[in-house]
Symmetry: C2
Subunit: 158 residues, 2 copies
Amino acid sequence: MARQLARTAPLAAKWRKLAEGRCAEKGERLTPARLAVYAEMLARRRAVSAYELIGLLEKRQERKIAPLTVYRHLDFLIRTGLVHRLQSTQTYLPCDHPDQAHESQFLLCSSCGNVDEVESTGLEALLSRIADERGFRPDNAVVEVKGLCGACAVEEQD
Amino acid sequence: MARQLARTAPLAAKWRKLAEGRCAEKGERLTPARLAVYAEMLARRRAVSAYELIGLLEKRQERKIAPLTVYRHLDFLIRTGLVHRLQSTQTYLPCDHPDQAHESQFLLCSSCGNVDEVESTGLEALLSRIADERGFRPDNAVVEVKGLCGACAVEEQD
DNA sequence: GAACGATACGTTATATTGTATCCTTCGTTG
DNA sequence: CAACGAAGGATACAATATAACGTATCGTTC
């Protein structure tokens, strides 16, 4: 197992602490395999598909990894709020707001692929109100805006 | 071709007119095959997956239909605003607001599967503002709220 | 109406994303 | 350490979506 640990992407203490904290809160176990997947995602800091992630992990660990394995780890990471799934691109992104669990909204740049995670309580409130008016009891909301990020919008003007 | 037309789901004049109007606006062609897919979707009036739709069409037309065919028709229907794609369930739903093109938000019931299409200009405005504050130039927004519809929420109380 | 370009359609194969099943391993707890 | 439940692994497969290529159809222009 020491070998496997040695082949995990470097993980800043900040993120490790965060993961430990979340697991403690939710009564989940933070295993090396789970941590390895999280570390790999943090090493990229961008949205990756599940299969991209498999490739990255296989390369780092020099062994085959079954899709199901990664999907289970992703489930875990999403359950604990450490990772978000972007529905409109079927990709996964480590949460960028370590402070506390929350609902997020995302701005996806269709040019450079960058994703900006934002948190608007105003938007959440409005969504709640809209649901409420229709007798709908909301559980969770997917809000993903596609467009051009600031940098790419500027470039395009030229 | 008469055979194929005969095996198209019935399509109320209202929806046919709508499709014709949208095509005229956008310079698209409204072919029998496209209309058949639209009619099939309207006959269900609920969100269906692409492969469900293939099955329905194959049954009605008594012949094999390649996935790509249906995906192309779906592209067309989405382009013309006649159909929405629900990102969080990878399903497709005929638009329920025939008046004019628009951005929609969706309330998806996780119990009965019903989808309520709503249109909130307030929400759109807020999303624009959030994007604008970050220099993001929005193109289109995915807003999909999962939860329990009124009817299912009541049932669950028992 | 013949020729042409653009759009739509069909077929085959394949890529991508995600699950089912079954068994093994690990960690805790008594 | 025995027993139990959670986590991990292997194999197979299901579901969703696209690539590449050729053919047919439509609309225009001559």
